[in-house]
């Protein structure tokens, strides 16, 4: 049973989600943690620090709507992290965390963003790679 990616369809096939995780890379390759960190602290791209805080000493304004990302890589496996970035509503349907790699089940999306995911598959992998390094 390989995780199946629906090519350009910008969504992850249900059978690629094993219960609480997406075990396989969306791109088939490992992400780059340095780029992943840059995406996370970018308020227009990752948007993560609007809600989360984390071990980013140089970032002055961090959110307090969501758990601190410190230690995320110790609490969660790479596959669990990937599922939470791709579509955290599969873990918690009431979550406020946006699905970064889903275009279905969205209402009234502004024209400039219609049919587009928040992050690309490469960017999701970069973010996952960086989060995996947050071990303490």
């Amino acid at each position: 049973m390989r995780g199946v990616l629906v090519g350009a369809a910008m969504c992850v096939a249900a059978n690629a989600v094993a219960a609480d995780s997406i075990p396989e890379s969306l791109t088939g390759a490992r992400g780059d943690p340095v780029r992943g960190r840059a995406i996370i602290v970018n308020r227009h791209l990752g948007l993560c620090l609007l809600c989360h805080s984390g071990p980013f000493e140089e970032q002055r304004f961090q959110g307090d709507l969501a758990p601190d990302l410190k230690g995320a890589g110790a609490r969660l496996s790479e596959g669990q992290l990937r599922l939470r970035i791709v579509d955290n509503s599969r873990v918690n349907s009431a979550t406020i965390m946006p699905a970064y790699y889903r275009t279905a089940r969205l209402a009234r999306v502004a024209p400039a963003y219609q049919g587009k995911t928040v992050l690309s598959s490469e960017q999701v992998e970069d973010v996952v790679a960086f989060l995996s390094t947050l071990r303490d």
Binding site: A19, Q62, L65, S89, S93, P98, L106, A107, A110, V118
Partner: protein
């Protein structure tokens, strides 16, 4: 066994959690979230930049306009008495249209029907000035909208819009303003989204703006398609916001960061 456990957990979590409306005793104006400097700016007419628009509105109130060659004052007299408490009752039911109208629409109805002058555009300096001037006559008075049976469908529509997830970021107004008003989004207080200061001077805008402009800002933030200015959908939302803030004191023209 572990897989079964996880699946069961996912099912429990899948029950949608509805936003909880803020109990009256816990409601707080955006003012209370502001820095001391910004509050001082709102409190002192000499420092409040919005007062420029209020003064302009006062002049417009007295100025003849349109083919009717009449000023607002010719029909309504001194706004300080005739318009006291009026803005606090908007959106209000309009029998001709069979639906609630906001203050901007009310002003424009008077312009087109009574003054025979062209309607003023949303966000135009004149419409902001007139609504700020009208709002000023309700400062300190409680929001007091009608909530009779005629209003109910529109109030319900506004509530539904407030609670609907939308945009690429898939968030509802309620998820931030009911559920997380005591938190911070990056460095900014989220606040409870009360409409009691509009139109108001926003430091970020470097100018005066309407409630609909503010709502459009939030919609842009969640990457959602915003309704047209003056659309029924926006007025229903304004109505719901006013209902949510019923009894709260008007602050128009307020200052916000």
């Amino acid at each position: 066994m572990r897989v079964v456990g996880t699946v069961a957990l996912l099912c429990t979590l899948a029950v949608p959690v509805r936003a909880v409306e803020i109990p009256p005793a816990e409601r707080r104006s955006g003012y209370e979230f502001m820095s001391r400097e910004t509050r001082a700016m709102q409190d002192d007419d000499a420092a409040n930049p919005a007062m420029l628009w209020v003064l302009e509105g006062e002049a417009l109130w007295a100025r003849t306009a349109g083919a009717g060659e009449r000023a607002c004052r010719d029909c309504h007299g001194d706004a300080r008495s005739s318009m006291k408490g009026v803005a606090a009752r908007y959106p209000a039911f309009d029998a001709t249209r069979g639906r609630p109208v906001n203050l901007e629409q009310r002003v424009n109805a008077c312009r087109t029907e009574r003054q025979k002058a062209p309607a003023l555009a949303y966000q135009s300096r004149e419409l902001l000035a007139l609504t700020a001037y009208l709002g000023r006559q309700s400062r300190g008075l409680p929001i007091d909208i009608a909530t009779d049976a005629r209003m109910k469908p529109f109030l319900d529509a506004g509530r539904a819009a407030f609670n609907r997830r939308q945009g690429q970021l898939d968030l509802s107004c309620a998820q931030c303003h009911d559920d997380h008003w005591d938190k911070r989004l990056a460095g900014n207080a989220i606040t409870q989204a009360h409409p009691n200061g509009y139109p108001l001077y926003r430091l970020e805008w470097q100018g005066l703006g309407s409630l609909q402009r503010r709502m459009r800002n939030c919609m842009a933030g969640i990457r959602a398609l915003a309704p047209e200015y003056g659309s029924a959908e926006f007025v229903d939302l304004e109505l719901f916001l006013a209902w949510r803030a019923r009894g709260m004191k008007m602050e128009t023209p307020a200052v916000r960061p």
